[in-house]
């Protein structure tokens, strides 16, 4: 009787679908990846000076040099000595442009009440930044 020799099966890992799997994983990572970009309003704070220090100089600025924007606790805005009232963004833009016409180097001092919200302050600073103003001072009362 003739006994046939068993042929050894060739060991092989099928790799044809490897790229499909890899692309599926890529799609997953692309869909779930969210680049954490930091965006916001940039401000440079003034240097801190100790009270009574020799570096502290008192300056008296006129309304032609500095505009006081006072934010009340309920979010209304008082410009210089005017009574506080609600300002729309457009109105605020017009006011800023008027002040800049008086003096291109105008300093804007934003005085926010401690009980006003952070959003109220950002709303005003955003309009100042939109007008390309860099001389912004932040303070509270």
């Amino acid at each position: 009787m003739k006994i046939g020799r068993k042929r050894k099966a060739k060991a092989e890992i099928p790799t044809s679908s490897m790229s499909d799997i890899a692309f599926l994983l890529i799609v997953f990572f692309m869909a779930t990846t969210k680049f954490d970009v930091k965006e916001g309003i940039r401000i440079v704070l003034p240097q801190a000076t100790a009270e009574g220090s020799e570096q502290v100089q008192s300056l008296t600025l006129t309304e032609n040099e500095m505009t006081r924007l006072q934010i009340t606790e309920d979010g209304r805005l008082a410009v210089n000595k005017d009574a506080p009232r609600d300002y729309e963004s457009g109105e605020l833009d017009v006011l800023i442009q008027q002040k800049l016409k008086l003096n291109q180097q105008m300093i804007f001092k934003v005085i926010t009440d401690r009980d006003a919200t952070y959003n109220d302050m950002i709303r005003v600073v955003d309009r100042l930044k939109a007008a390309d103003i860099e001389k912004i001072s932040l303070s509270t009362n």
Binding site: F29, T33, G40, Q47, T112, I122
Partner: protein, 144 residues
């Protein structure tokens, strides 16, 4: 007469053997660059940030983030703190250390828009004490 042979049409063939290598390279890139953001106990969701129009991008490499919650809890380096009195100087001491490590440090605020300004003012005062003067208030882009 010369014998003119008909040119055989060659089969169009795109080599795909290296496709999986390319795919795995891309996969590797996404795997390395992905950082899964863990939900923290203290967190200010993007939806809670204020809206603004004139925003600018901040390069990430010199930034540190301070979270300020609506209940006036401040989170810096994943450590919650509060400023109740002038003796609470955790923010300034942390920033002094960070400023020594990176002199170009920029502080980014992720603050809930309903937070009272008083706490922000206190934090900024401590920033000034730490000579960390460049700050960014993170905002959402206002859709016009």
């Amino acid at each position: 007469m010369a014998n003119i042979k008909k040119e055989k049409n060659r089969d169009a063939f795109i080599p795909t053997s290296s496709m999986s290598d390319i795919a795995f390279l891309l996969l590797l890139f996404f795997m390395v660059s992905t950082v899964f953001v863990q939900e923290k106990k203290f967190w200010v969701e993007r939806e809670r940030w204020p809206l603004a129009e004139s925003i600018e991008r901040v390069p990430r490499n010199h930034t540190t983030t301070i979270y300020v919650m609506r209940d006036e809890t401040i989170l810096i380096d994943d450590i919650p703190t509060r400023i109740e009195s002038s003796e609470d100087v955790f923010v300034s001491t942390t920033l002094i250390r960070k400023k020594e490590e990176d002199p170009e440090l920029v502080v980014c605020f992720r603050t809930d828009r309903e937070t009272k300004y008083g706490v922000m003012s206190d934090v900024m005062r401590q920033l000034q004490d730490a000579q960390t003067l460049v700050v960014t208030f993170e905002t959402q882009k206002r859709a016009d």
